[in-house]
Amino acid sequence: MTLPSSISTRLGQHGYLAVGGAILLGLLFVFVFVRGGYLLTVMQLAMIYGVFCIGLNFFMGYTGQASFGQNAFAALGGYGTAVLCVQYGWEPILALFASMAISGVASVVVGYPTLRLRGHYLAMATFALGLITYDISVQWQSVTQGYMGYSGIPPLGIGPFTVEDERWKLVVLMVIVLFGLWISGRLRNSRFGRALRAISTSELGASALGIRISHYKLAAFVIAALYASAAGSLFAHVVGFISPEVFGAQMVIVTFTMLYVGGVGTVLGPAIGAVIASLLPEIVRSTGRFQDIAYALVLILLLIYVPKGLSALFGIGRPRPAKTTNPGS
């Protein structure tokens, strides 16, 4: 039915590039599976961050809004899972969905008033959400166990089937990422997604066409929170341990770097960015601290020199207007 050219526009401006990237990713996974070992862990974390970034992309990429506090919902997911599984012996899968439900409700309650803010106030208010959650996770020791965090969180599973093999964990996470991408792609190219993308460039234009801005911003925020919560829960199940530091402010920087590397507002960008940004520090074999420094530096350089994200670099060959009329003439 659809022509190839419109497929590429439906995928995002760099459709073919994205498809090529996906094939490369596939090859990479084969390599990781054969090689095994530490790379498996790296890729597992990349997938978990990928889930987070796909969600963040709804709010930041499609809708063009900035939230510096999505890590709050990842923390909610992680701690929800940890508490429900360790303290109350819940089934991991149930705990994951229950945490998502809690995060969803929390994001509506918090987002409804917060998203009325604009500019620096919105930025600071969302940043504050992350800081508040961090402080609570440190202080509310009776529930969160403070700095010590939670260990012994059971692996993912349904009933008697648990995923304990490292390779299988990665497979499960990959399936989850693909599912997340599928949702993202479907929603992007729908009435709902078009409304979000319209808001990102012109709120005036969107509201003049009858789009209820606050409604759609909130919806994108909630979706981002659901993904973040799922990522938090997945981290808990896969790694088996969480602490306040896992969901600290550096998570904001790391995930934004991933989003910028992969391409803000494209469907596959967040996942590709998560993989690239997770692998790069491994290639230079840097450890934790240097890794955070590298992320911060890369992000700053990207923000200065490639403010639209790396994927924009590949957009040079796009059609140009035949002639431009000066708007002022």
């Binding site: 729908s190 709902f192 078009r194 460039t201 012109s202 066409l209 009858g210 209820r212």
Partner: protein, 256 residues
């Protein structure tokens, strides 16, 4: 029948009166123009009518409903659709997608439907794709459908904005200085499009700076100066009106 009725509409900013006691009636099916020199308060008037700016006093009635304090998107949902003097393009989308967004009010479906894609949704998507193409052909942008909207030349962005507004199924189309920044050729193309839209039975309320364009296509004209309505009538009456000549044509003939 009167489609839009404005009574005593007033807007004050910090003591400065931008619009003072403006009243007018727009008949269904007519092509009504509001003209005035720069700074006469035309855009302020428009922003209040379309709900983008709260009014200080006065009332606005559209199709028998008081819309004075209604939110923009609800006003749009009633069939009052506007364009902007500064084009509000969705730059990150293709030309065709811009028009598809225009169908927002005429379509349904949220997150759930988008994920499941039931048959009715697929029909709806196919339907708006076809209709969007028709609208683009109507304004002469059919060939550019798959281009990034941000790459269109300025004159064509204006036409795209009109096509997008048409997609929303307006009963009353508000065009805010559609000819601003267009050359003579583009202005002619636009005048054609506006007359065709009106020919389809859609009421048009037009704000313009270009008197030549307005006197050629409008059925009825109101003139604003310093925030007050100083005259209203047919194009011929307006051309002869002494106050209008003094306030507007006398000082601005080189732009006409």
């Amino acid at each position: 029948m009167t489609l839009l009725s404005v009574r005593g509409l007033t807007k004050r900013f910090d003591g400065l009166t931008a619009n003072s006691e403006i009243s007018l009636d727009v008949e269904e099916g007519s092509l009504f123009a509001v003209i005035g020199p720069n700074g006469a308060g035309k855009t302020t008037f428009f922003n209040m009518v379309s709900g983008f700016l709260p009014s200080t006093a006065g009332s606005i009635t559209f199709a028998g409903t008081d819309i004075t304090t209604m939110r923009q998107d609800k006003i749009a949902a009633m069939g009052l659709i506007r364009t902007f003097q500064l084009v509000q393009m969705f730059q990150n989308m293709t030309v065709a997608e811009n028009v598809e967004v225009g169908f927002h009010l005429k379509t349904r479906g949220g997150v759930g439907a988008a994920l499941v894609r039931p048959p009715w949704l697929r029909r709806q998507e196919e339907d708006i794709r076809v209709k969007a193409r028709e609208l683009l052909d109507f304004v002469g942008l059919g060939a550019q459908a798959d281009m990034d909207a941000g790459l269109l030349p300025y004159g064509q962005q204006r036409l795209l904005e009109v096509a997008r507004a048409m997609a929303a199924g307006p009963r009353l189309l508000l065009l805010d200085e559609p000819a601003a920044g267009l050359n003579a050729h583009e202005t002619d193309a636009l005048a054609d499009v506006i007359q065709h839209i009106n020919g389809r039975g859609i009421t048009v309320l037009l704000i313009e700076h270009d008197v030549g364009l307005v006197t050629r296509i409008a059925h009825r004209i109101a003139v604003l100066d310093f925030g007050c309505k100083i005259a209203e009538g047919t194009p011929d009456e307006i051309k002869k009106h002494p106050d209008v000549i003094a306030a507007y044509l006398g000082t601005e003939t080189e732009n006409a």
